[in-house]
Symmetry: C2
Subunit: 424 residues, 2 copies
């Protein structure tokens, strides 16, 4: 192990991930842990060199573990901690490193039986396996299931055994693994700040902050998905306060350069920010959707508490619905077509009046795959936002297939509502 | 290699998958190929023993390939076939097996330059790398990108190099890899039939067809997601017709036992079957959504052609919208509450009349996390379906969080529409 190159005095740690489970090799489920763990390990400055998936087979697991120990400092195993004969991770680790496996009555009472008590059931004889200690292993609590994790140190290697279900694995990693890894590196806390952007492409955004992304502590990691862009800034330090002090100038610099595109932080989404802004401004909203077909409304409804701001929506697919429920003038539809600035304008105003909301938002466009013309190609979308006094209609051409055009149009509409709320 | 145990005379083949790409180890993207390839390999009867992800590093890739060749017959590599210095998969395979790498002018003209011609650009000097032949490797065409794949046979091992982008990798696998693997096993075609079920749990369904799932050719593989259940029946044989003849009795037996739950086949979805049934019956539809908040409509709109059957929808979140746009009697709302059989009834009929559709569908429920009571707990949903003559309201209690309750309620509504269309 060499000295970490960020001047904080920590050490370089090489890690690898092993997922145990024949169901992954059969393609029945994804190895969804790999991305989660890799992201977090990268954020705290640990290099991951291999991900491996191996089946519920002791021989192959032992062979793999020996190889892994010859090349990595930290091995994180997920899966295979259940009570059945197929659950072989404990046996595999013990076998690979020649460690004894002993039933630990105390661990059984402390870690395995409480979960059954909450369910009002008794553990079976099988469940005793879940309290087998590997050598001098340390059990890691699992309040969400019957399988405690385990931390085994052997020949200078750090081996973590975590349960397979994501709802058990993720909190156990955060509570019991990450702090030990951070300590291993000579620090004691890790703090992350996520900055969320909309309306800028991945390559443009990265170009603007390339120098920041070259930093080692804090690290700045980009992530893009369907028109959104995220930067995660992560610092490791002796104290929480010190980590925050290290993040602040980097976040400040990032927002100085990309502030126009920043819409939220950490766990926020476009929809949750729309909900917050509407609540702050004590405004209600309604949507008139054509090509998005309910998707826009559904994004807001996915946020708990949306009933406090959403009056309702009209999905006006047929022109008759546009005229009857939204009172779009027949003349506008005939003169300009359903996908037009005029109709977007009338739909936004129409839904506001029909539902009695403060803000009305409309989307009308050509989602494809058919229905495009030279004048109005697939991907063309008009989005209207009105507060009863001012109505703005935005014209956009989105790329992608039918589903992507619809998702991008809905997200763009949410972004426009956030911007409109800023102006109040 | 041993003889395959299905009496068809094929041979047992052990395969492993290697994804090359530092971006996967950093957690920036998922190794999404593993599930796709594993499912297909399982379906054609090939056992996958390892998935590994390794970074863009020749030394680690060579070490891994040597290990892989010592334990597997088939190695499928994805990624690292681009033109840059980071693209090292060709070098890795050549290095691991001591094979020469030679620039192949003919392959360059046949496989690399045509893509640039379509873009109206010239390939760069870098792109020549993409026509490096590994030993006596066979190039695999890639009409969707600049990186041809390659098939290398060495010491009785079969090594396939495929590009990383899924839109290039998947068709190349289907067109150039799968047929070679099928041939390797002594067969010449693979045929799959997917049977889609709704309304039965994974374990109940599997229990019913456990004996069928034990078969080797055809294989019967289950897959469950959010209330839906899928069985993929796959046969390998000398001819397409023979494979279909092998599938037919297994499918017949499966439908004999689980027919009540079968709603579709192959690429169909609940929404696409709703669309087909409505088209067949020449009926239009509209939705009145409360807790699903546009999600139900959005599922139908996601199917191309939905404009031929969908008149429109009303998301009636606020009670005032229920009374004004859907003409739900105020008395019903006051006497029974918004989440009630009576209101579901009135909403279905109301949206049918408001939009002028043949069929009206309503959903009202408690999606949570708040708003549940002892009488009306989180997850309680009423779904109404009316054709103007008969109106049926179904009461269901769904488990899961807010998002899951909403998805399950929307899917259940689609299933009820399919059933209603059967009765016409």
């Amino acid at each position: 192990m060499g000295i970490r190159g960020d001047g904080t005095g920590g050490v370089a740690v090489r890690a690898e991930l092993i997922a145990v489970g024949t169901e992954i090799l059969l393609g029945q489920i994804d190895n969804s842990h790999a991305k989660f763990l890799s992201q977090d390990l990268a954020a705290i400055g640990i290099s991951v060199f291999y991900h491996t998936v191996v089946g519920d087979n002791a021989e192959r697991l032992i062979r793999l573990l020996k190889e892994a120990a010859s090349r990595s400092d930290v091995i994180i195993l997920t899966g295979g901690l259940g009570p059945t004969e197929d659950d072989l991770t404990r046996e595999g680790v013990a076998g690979a490193f020649g460690l004894p496996l002993t039933f630990d009555e105390g661990a059984f009472v402390a870690h395995v039986t409480p979960f059954f008590e909450r369910l009002g059931r008794a553990p079976t004889e099988n469940n005793k396996k879940q309290a087998w200690r590997i050598g001098a292993g340390v059990f890691l609590p699992n309040p969400r299931g019957t399988a405690p994790g385990q931390y085994v140190q052997v020949s200078g290697k750090h081996i973590f055994l975590l349960p397979g279900p994501p709802l058990e694995m993720r909190p156990m990693y955060v509570e019991s693994v990450r702090p030990r890894l951070v300590q291993l590196m000579g620090d004691s806390v890790i703090v992350s700040r996520v900055v969320r952007l909309y309306g800028i492409g991945e390559s443009s955004a990265e170009l603007e902050v390339k120098d920041l992304m070259a930093g080692v502590n804090p690290t700045v990691a980009p992530l893009a998905s369907e028109g959104e862009m995220v930067f995660r800034i992560t610092a490791s330090a002796k104290t929480d306060e010190q980590a925050r002090r290290m993040i602040a100038p980097v976040q400040g610099e990032l927002e100085e350069r990309l502030g126009d595109y920043v819409y939220g932080y950490d766990d926020e989404t476009l929809a949750s920010v729309v909900l917050s802004r509407l609540l702050e401004n004590k405004k209600t909203v309604s949507f008139a959707e054509s090509c998005t077909g309910g998707l826009l409304t559904s994004m807001l409804v996915d946020c708990a508490g949306s009933s406090r701001v959403l009056r309702g929506s009209v999905v006006a697919y047929d022109n008759a619905v546009k005229t009857e429920l939204l009172h779009v003038p027949k003349m506008s539809l005939e003169a300009h077509g359903a996908v037009s600035e005029e109709v977007a304008y009338a739909m936004a105003e129409g839904v506001r009046l029909a539902t009695g909301s403060d803000v009305g938002v409309s989307v009308t466009g050509v989602a494809g795959p058919d229905g495009g013309t030279i004048e109005k190609p697939v991907g063309l979308v008009y989005i209207g936002v009105t507060d009863g006094k001012t109505t703005n209609v935005t014209r956009r051409l989105f790329s992608g297939d039918r589903t992507q055009v619809r998702i991008r149009a809905a997200k763009h509409a949410l972004f426009l509502v956030i911007q409109a709320m800023k102006k109040i």
